[in-house]
Symmetry: C3
Subunit: 302 residues, 3 copies
């Protein structure tokens, strides 16, 4: 899409200097975590990208202005905004939000679209959306976007509250290359291994950069998904995660939570039932993904 | 697609004068209503567009010639054609029909494709296709077309004989912006409110035009869906509609109607069981949508 | 995609002489049949294309080099490679395979992508992928590729171990034109008639060429599917095929075969239970499709 993009000063300079740029998203800031963890994590992710030698560009819509590289002040505004006051922006939300000059935090799909428009082709996030457990027709727009927008996405898989086998099926149907980073299996966000085999894997940064370069040279019209397991020190085990999710879903049922309200409720319960360890894992994997995206971008610098 | 387009004289003149143009479809003429209601409604829709200050362009394929702006005579030929003699044309049907120089009436998807080729970017219809109730893999090509062809479509939602919750899921997955016109909920064709929340809404023509302009400025590669409830005076209530549909489906079962024959049978029964009030609602919403599309096009004139 | 294509000498000459070119795939060589049937069939298909007056171009990836028109020696290497040593390459596999300079045999989707990059717009194969019976979310990437890549594919339908009604639904949703060649119904690979109606059909080469030309002139952004029934002499009947498939699936269950292992197991059992008649049908339909693709390409020569 042809946005009238506003570039942050650091991103403008990176473009001038041909410094590799890594996009970061803002839904995690406005919807994924509470203040101040959200701001701290966003800034630590930016630092992880910088330490790898790349330039971070956190993307968002500020009062109808699509912005590539929020300033720290803008990030803080997003981080401290009242929950719900800044809308999530996926592909379908751009025109309605921009038509009203509203702000928006970008989902995985939304970030891919703005990154592609800004000619940034790598992006680090926590986890991608997927197919909802028990609701196989509730398929995240992230999956179709990965099938059509040329941005490489570094993630820790998808949350196991989703239907991961069906999520892999949809990605296959959409033709999305999925590459495990130092793993042959799909990671499951809080846990390192879903047990589901991936079609491809790479063992190190050099191999990841070679795949990324091959994809870039193809001028591929689809995304490239790197799945990077949560660091071992902060990972939850599959057993405890399944127990926690089962309990959380049971509580949702008991409280008669329905429809779109289920996921936030369940995720909140997961934090509670894991006594904060899921939050710690979430932060660790976000920073880990920002680092990996920075390292791949730098290794593949043209 | 690169059609060898034939322009009606009124459309050619509108293009020359930079008059906003609103596309109209022909499936409603050949398959949606019987003569003379079909012709009268098509002409009244054209008038509603004109009264708003825009130029109507009813689209169809006449003996292998893709035509932008049928003449009244051509429209009458379509309206009086023997049922089944003019094929419905969706995306998949263009090459086969054109290869045999046949005529075709355009579905929502087909109209979007021809409109886009003719650089017309707004289109009024009755209702879009959707996901079939009880057949969740029977998904109208209208939904995928809305995900990839840049035409704004003004409709009254989708018929409640479809599975409306799944239809919304597919539209979300396809990244289609859906905007309620003076409603926060999806309208359901004959009825004003399906009870299903929409992601966006606008309150008046100015807001609708602003969203349409934002979408146009994005050079979006997907459609924009405005949902406009049937006028109150002619609307059916949800209760009576559900009763009618349940009866119609029961009769289809009792008569052993199967597969593709179910929808036309059920729609026929709906007209019968509603004692013609569904036909009146259908006509009213078509004219209402033509008017709204004309008003948005004129308000957003460049 | 922008491949760094390597052209075989015969294909380079055909391009120079404006000889119509028909693409052929390599998954059938590495995964579809055993040596020496696979090599013999591939060479006989090439001959069938030549006898029709067109130039065959068998496509594959040789050590990271995307090759348009394998030499007989390269074909033999593919045909005699150890099963599993050459990976199947669909849309999602190009970047990972090319990033590691590996070889790959092209699926229907993969062949379409390379053919389109080489400006070859017709391709003959055995059967396309589809929706898996009992696993409606396991949808072959062939179906989405047919929805977005402009290559005409001549096939004998899809194997009846797939869910053929759902496969047709997905093709309709994706907007893929399907044209029966001398049949009004979808062929089912080993058998001539699935009993499922097709939206379009042509009666002879001239009509097929007219549809292909219309599609080409449209600059369509989707494929065109010709379905050509297996020759009568080698066709299996629907009854015996259903009996065989039921037995094969029962044996898979009895042996506790699961997931991705089911299809190859069932196909192997089908060959065994049909006492080789399914292999004979497979070979016959492949050659028949290559011939038809050649004849259409020649008849539509510009
Ligand atoms: Mn959803
Ligand atoms: Mn359908
Ligand atoms: Mn599959």
């Amino acid at each position: 899409m042809n946005f009238d993009l506003q570039f942050g000063a650091h991103v403008a300079e990176a473009l001038k200097n041909n410094t590799p740029i890594v996009a970061l998203e803002t839904t995690v800031v406005t919807h994924g975590m509470a203040y101040p963890s959200n701001l701290e994590t966003a800034l630590t992710m930016e630092n992880a990208v910088k330490e790898a030698g790349a330039c971070p560009a956190t993307l968002g819509i500020v009062d109808g202005q699509v912005t590539v590289g929020l300033t720290e002040e803008q990030l803080k505004d997003f981080a401290t905004s009242e929950r719900g006051s800044i809308a999530k922006c996926s592909r379908r939300d751009f025109a309605p939000l921009l038509g009203k000059n509203q702000s928006g935090s970008l989902t995985v799909a939304g970030t891919m679209i703005v990154a592609a428009a800004a000619k940034i082709d790598i992006f680090a996030t926590g986890g991608i959306g997927g197919v909802h457990r028990g609701h196989p027709f509730d398929v995240s727009a992230d999956l179709t976007e990965l099938g059509k927008t040329p941005v490489a996405v570094v993630c820790a898989g998808a949350k196991s509250i989703l239907d991961l086998p069906l999520t892999l099926e949809v990605l296959e149907t959409q033709g999305v290359p999925i590459v495990g980073y130092q793993t042959k299996n799909l990671p499951a966000f809080y846990t390192r291994d879903s047990g589901l085999a991936l079609p491809h894997s790479v063992d190190n940064i050099a191999e990841a950069a070679a795949t990324y370069t091959a994809w870039r040279d193809l001028g591929a019209d689809s995304g490239l998904l790197f799945t990077n397991p949560v660091p071992e020190a902060d990972a939850l085990s599959n057993d405890e995660m399944e127990t926690i999710i089962d309990k959380a879903i049971a509580e949702a049922d008991a409280n008669n939570i329905k429809g779109a309200a289920v996921t936030p409720f369940v995720l909140g319960k997961v934090v509670e039932l894991s006594e904060g360890r899921s939050l710690k894992a979430n932060i660790a994997l976000l920073i880990n993904n920002a680092k990996l995206a920075g390292e791949i971008a730098v290794a593949a610098k043209r």
